[in-house]
């Protein structure tokens, strides 16, 4: 398939500037049964996240006597993509679940809940590039909503190299035809980026471009962090007033 031009007259195909996020919508506490939940849209991505726990872990041999066991399940609905996806975990979602769980594990204060389990379930209802980062953002809000003890808030965003340019939050065409994709998650505490919680990359970038990408990701993550907080505030301020 012929690669289309992805940047025309200094603008991206959807009209965005290089450092611009897609529109984001976040709603908190959308599921009744879950301890915490979040619905998130990022461009055409539609994500729903639920948190259960801390709760008892079954079977018992999966318990850890010194800390809570964190489980993270990233799952794509069969109808979330153009061509129907076979239901159930494939290799890609197993890997995404692993790195996402590893991003949250050091942030959740799991030593405070020995033998228990905290389950984070994230469903991609519609996918349009950057699902793993959108899912982490939703999961993070659902964890706050569940009252889970954490050091801070995890916020994720992808950057890409597209037609030689480093851009924020690539959409589907940019992800597919672009030269590189780099999803990053940060631990943000008290309005400050503390550290990197998730980092992957595939494609081709110079070392300098990688560094530039991280800087851009930080900028994007701070914007998303503010939206995550606002969404939580919106729910609880209403309740508290």
């Amino acid at each position: 398939m012929e690669k289309p031009k992805l940047i025309v007259d200094g603008k991206r195909l959807d009209g965005r500037g290089f450092e611009e996020l897609r529109p984001i919508k976040i709603e908190v506490g959308v599921l009744k049964r879950a301890d915490g939940s979040c619905y998130l849209e990022m461009g055409k991505n539609k994500i729903i996240a639920a948190v259960y726990g801390p709760r008892e872990v079954h079977p018992r041999h999966l318990q850890d006597p010194s800390k809570a066991v964190i489980r993270y399940r990233y799952n794509m609905a069969p109808f979330s993509v153009e061509e129907r996806k076979k239901p159930g975990p494939d290799r890609r979602s197993v890997e995404i679940s692993k790195v996402s769980r590893e991003a949250l594990e050091p942030v959740i204060m799991k030593e405070l809940f020995p033998r228990s389990g905290i389950d984070v379930f994230v469903e991609v209802l519609q996918a349009d590039a950057g699902t793993r980062t959108a899912c982490l953002n939703a999961a993070s809000v659902a964890l706050i909503d569940a009252g889970v003890m954490m050091k801070g808030i995890v916020t994720a965003v992808a950057v890409a190299k597209v037609d030689g340019q480093i851009v924020l939050d690539p959409m589907k065409e940019e992800d597919f035809y672009g030269e590189a994709d780099m999803p990053v998650a940060f631990l943000i505490r008290n309005d400050q980026i503390e550290s990197i919680a998730l980092l992957q990359m595939d494609g081709r970038m110079t070392v300098e471009e990688v560094k530039k990408g991280i800087e851009l990701a930080k900028k994007g993550a701070m914007e998303i962090y503010r939206m995550q907080r606002e969404a939580v505030m919106k729910k609880y301020v209403k309740e508290e007033e």
Binding site: M1, R91, R92, V94, E95, S97, K98, V99, R101, E102, E105, P106, V107, A180, M182, L187, I193, E194, S195, I196, A197, L198, L199, Q200, M201, D202, G203, R204, M205, T206, V207, V210, K211, I214
Partner: protein
Amino acid sequence: MPEDILMDIKRDYVLSRIRAGERIDGRNFDEFRKVEVKTGIIEKAEGSALVKLGNTQVVVGVKMQVGEPFPDTPNMGIIITNAELVPLASPTFEPGPPDENSIELARVVDRGIRESEAVDLEKLCIEEGEKVWIVFIDIHALDDDGNLMDASSIAAISALMNTTVPAERFGVGEDFKLPIRDFPISVTSLVVDDRILVDPCRDEMSVGKNLMTITSDEEGNVVAMQKSGSYLMAEEKFYELLDLSVAKAKEIRENVREQLKGGENGEDEES
């Protein structure tokens, strides 16, 4: 999963040595273990390599088949990478379907090969939209003494360089060497406190699996990265890792290239 009890016992010792500024096997912090590569060790495979990285051993076999291309890339061959962490390689590996660790291993090795465009996939098209070559890269761990990731990536690219496309056997022309046009090398490091330990051995990983893999191509571009493990990484630490990993990859690439020149057909030069 069976617990590796020795790991727990070693943790404190390893940590105290690291904090004292040294590694338990006396290596420098940025030093790889000895890399040994032998190719062509499996005659039935189209290409193969055995890599020893210290005591870690991995065999990669390449098999090829004729098949249909993906609809969105009708003129390109296909790469499929798989990893098996067989129970023979470690007391912590169990039989059964691939778990998240073996899936991650295969996918990160695959990304390095794929994104560096090491294999010229367009030359693996037999009939556009109908028939292309499928390259199966199978990673078989034999002994996990730490850093299976880098041992596997070295073995994978070495095996690919050793591969002959079996065109005659499939009745589609003459055999030819698999067209290789880059040499990706992954560098995996363990992050402990403020320290970076390149190519961690199993005992060093007793302090935690805080790993970062950075794969770069011949020109020093980054082609794949993977943070693996439940830990938080300081931004400055990452930039340090980035520069270090690309520099180290150059060194390892030259080392492996020399060995591939000399040691074709599985002849062991030292014996």
